[in-house]
C-alpha cells in the first residue's frame, strides 16, 4: 500500500520540520511546498502555524496560497490546520484584526479571563458528547498548547473543547473534509501521533477517488 500523501503548506511558519517528522512517523509521505500549483492539486493539506494570524495570512496571500488552499478543498482535498493553522480556517481573527480563509464559520478571539497568557502547556481535550467524528476517533486526552487566541464558539464544527481558568474554547474542530487542532499534535507525544494517524485514516478515501 502506498503511503498517504500530505502537502505541508510552507508559508514561513516555524513548526514545519517537527510537523513533517510527526507526519512521517504517522506513515505519511510529506511534500513541503510553497508552490500554489502543488498546493491546489494536493489530496491532503496541512496548514501549520506559529506566530501571529495577521502575519500568517499576509504570507499565505503573498504567495497566492490562500486561494490555492480554497481551490484544493473545493476539489475534494482534506485539510488539517494546526494551532494558528486552525485559527486561519475561520472567518476572522481578532489578532491583528485580519480576515482569514473563511472555510468554517466563527471568529478567533483573545483568551480574555485567563490568568496567564500564553496558555502554555499540557491541558485536557474534552470531547463534545454525542458528536463522534472519524478524525477525532483517537483524540488525545491531554495535549500540548501554546497560544493566546482561540475560537470560543465554533458551533457545530466543535468536536472537543479545552478549559483554562473557566474559559472554554474549541480545541478540535471539523467540518466536511476540514479539520483543525488548536493543540500541537506534533508535540503531544504518543497521543498526538495517534491523532495524526486518525487524520490519515479519515482521509483515506481521497486516493480512491483519484483526487490526487
Amino acid at each position: 500500500m502506498t503511503r498517504p500523501t500530505v502537502v505541508l503548506v510552507d508559508y514561513g511558519a516555524g513548526n514545519i520540520r517537527s510537523l513533517r517528522a510527526a507526519l512521517e512517523r504517522a506513515g505519511a509521505a510529506v511534500t513541503v511546498s510553497s508552490d500554489r500549483r502543488v498546493v491546489e492539486r494536493a489530496p491532503r493539506l496541512m496548514v501549520p502555524g506559529q506566530g501571529a494570524a495577521g502575519a500568517a495570512m499576509d504570507a499565505l496571500r503573498a504567495g497566492g496560497l490562500d486561494d490555492a488552499v480554497r481551490r484544493a478543498v473545493a476539489e475534494g482535498a482534506y485539510l488539517l490546520g494546526v494551532c494558528v493553522g486552525l485559527q486561519l480556517l475561520f472567518e476572522r481573527s481578532a489578532e491583528d484584526d485580519v480576515t482569514c480563509l473563511g472555510l468554517l464559520p466563527g471568529r478567533v478571539e483573545r483568551l480574555e479571563g485567563v490568568a496567564l497568557l500564553p496558555h502554555m502547556g499540557w491541558n485536557d481535550v474534552d470531547p463534545v458528547p454525542g458528536r463522534p467524528h472519524p478524525v477525532a476517533a483517537e483524540l488525545p486526552a491531554v495535549a500540548y498548547f501554546a497560544h493566546s487566541f482561540a475560537v470560543r464558539d465554533a458551533g457545530a464544527a466543535t468536536l472537543a473543547t479545552t478549559e483554562v481558568d473557566g474559559v472554554r474554547f474549541a480545541s478540535m474542530v471539523a467540518g466536511d473534509r476540514i479539520a483543525g487542532a488548536q493543540f500541537h499534535p506534533e508535540r503531544s507525544a504518543a497521543a498526538g501521533a495517534a491523532m495524526l494517524r486518525g487524520f490519515l485514516r479519515w482521509s483515506a478515501d481521497v486516493e480512491a477517488r483519484g483526487a490526487a
Binding site: 516555524g14 517537527s18 510527526a22 506559529q50 502547556g121 501554546a146 504518543a190
Partner: protein, 252 residues
C-alpha cells in the same frame, strides 16, 4: 486542567551535554539528542536546551543538533544560548525549536524581545533571567548577563516585568545563588517574579530532587526545570511527577 510542567534541561557545549556547579567546572553528560529522546520517553513535558558555546561554528553545530532533536523528539523543545539577533530566533525556529530563549541580548537591547515577539509570536519567545541576591537584607536581586559572568545595573524582578511588557511569552528564572548547590530553588526570587507577571514562569537552579521541584510548582511556577538530577540518573521525570501527584500538584 492545565498541568504544571517538569522540564529536564540540557546544557550543551560543543555538541555534548555538560553540567557545572555555579556555571563553572563543566563535565560531560552525553549526546543531547539521545538525552532529549530519553527524557521525552520518561514523560518530560518539554525539553530545555541551553547552548553554552559561542561562535559561528558552535552555532552551525547547534542548528544541526536542534534539527535532529526536533525530528526525533515528540514534546516541545526550547532552545537558548547565544541568541543575540532576530535572525538567530528565525534560524532556531526553522531548525524545529518550539520556543527560543534570549538572555544577554535582551538585557543589552530590550527592543529585541518586541521585534522577535511581533514577528514570531509571544508564545515562542522566552526571556531567560540569571539573578543573584543582593547583599544585605533587602530581598532584591540583580540580573546578570553573559552566562552569569557580569552583573548588570538592572533589578531582576523589574527586568522580568519589563521583559513581559516587551513581549516575552514566558520567563525562565535561574537563581545563580542556588544553581548547582542542590539546596532547592530560590523560592523567594521565584515568588517575587510570579507575583509581578502574567506569563508562565519556569523555575531553574538548585533542584536536588522531586520535593524541590514540587516546591517551585507550589510557589506558583508553571514549570520546574532541572539538569543534574536527571543526567546523573538520581531521579527520573516520572519520579518527580509521582511526588507532585502525592502533593496534589496537577501534572501530566
Amino acid at each position: 486542567m492545565l498541568r504544571r510542567r517538569v522540564i529536564p534541561c540540557l546544557d550543551v557545549s560543543a555538541g555534548r551535554v555538560v553540567k557545572g556547579v555555579n556555571f563553572v567546572n563543566l563535565r560531560d553528560c552525553g549526546d543531547p539528542v539521545e538525552a532529549a529522546v530519553r527524557y521525552a520517553a520518561q514523560g518530560a513535558d518539554e525539553i530545555a536546551w541551553l547552548n553554552i558555546t559561542a561562535g559561528d561554528e558552535g552555532w552551525r553545530t547547534l542548528l544541526a543538533a536542534v534539527e535532529r532533536a526536533a525530528e526525533q523528539v515528540d514534546v516541545p523543545v526550547t532552545v537558548g544560548g547565544g541568541v543575540s539577533e532576530e535572525r538567530h530566533v528565525r534560524d532556531l525556529l526553522a531548525a524545529g525549536a518550539d520556543k527560543v530563549s534570549i538572555n544577554t541580548a535582551a538585557l543589552r537591547r530590550p527592543e529585541l524581545v518586541t521585534e522577535c515577539a511581533e514577528r514570531h509570536g509571544a508564545q515562542c519567545i522566552v526571556v531567560a533571567i540569571d539573578a543573584r541576591a543582593d547583599d544585605g537584607p533587602t530581598g532584591s536581586w540583580t540580573a546578570y548577563e553573559s552566562g552569569g559572568r557580569r552583573a548588570t545595573d538592572r533589578d531582576a524582578v523589574a527586568w522580568a516585568e519589563e521583559a513581559v511588557r516587551r513581549g516575552a511569552g514566558e520567563l525562565l528564572v535561574t537563581s545563580m545563588d542556588a544553581d548547582g548547590t542542590k539546596a532547592g530553588y530560590a523560592l523567594d526570587l521565584l515568588g517575587a517574579v510570579v507575583e509581578r507577571v502574567s506569563v508562565p514562569v519556569v523555575a531553574s537552579g538548585g533542584a536536588a530532587g522531586p520535593e524541590h521541584m514540587a516546591d517551585a510548582l507550589e510557589a506558583g511556577c508553571a514549570a520546574a526545570l532541572a539538569a543534574s538530577i536527571f543526567h546523573d540518573g538520581t531521579f527520573t521525570v516520572e519520579e518527580v511527577k509521582a511526588t507532585c501527584r502525592t502533593r496534589g500538584i496537577p501534572v501530566r
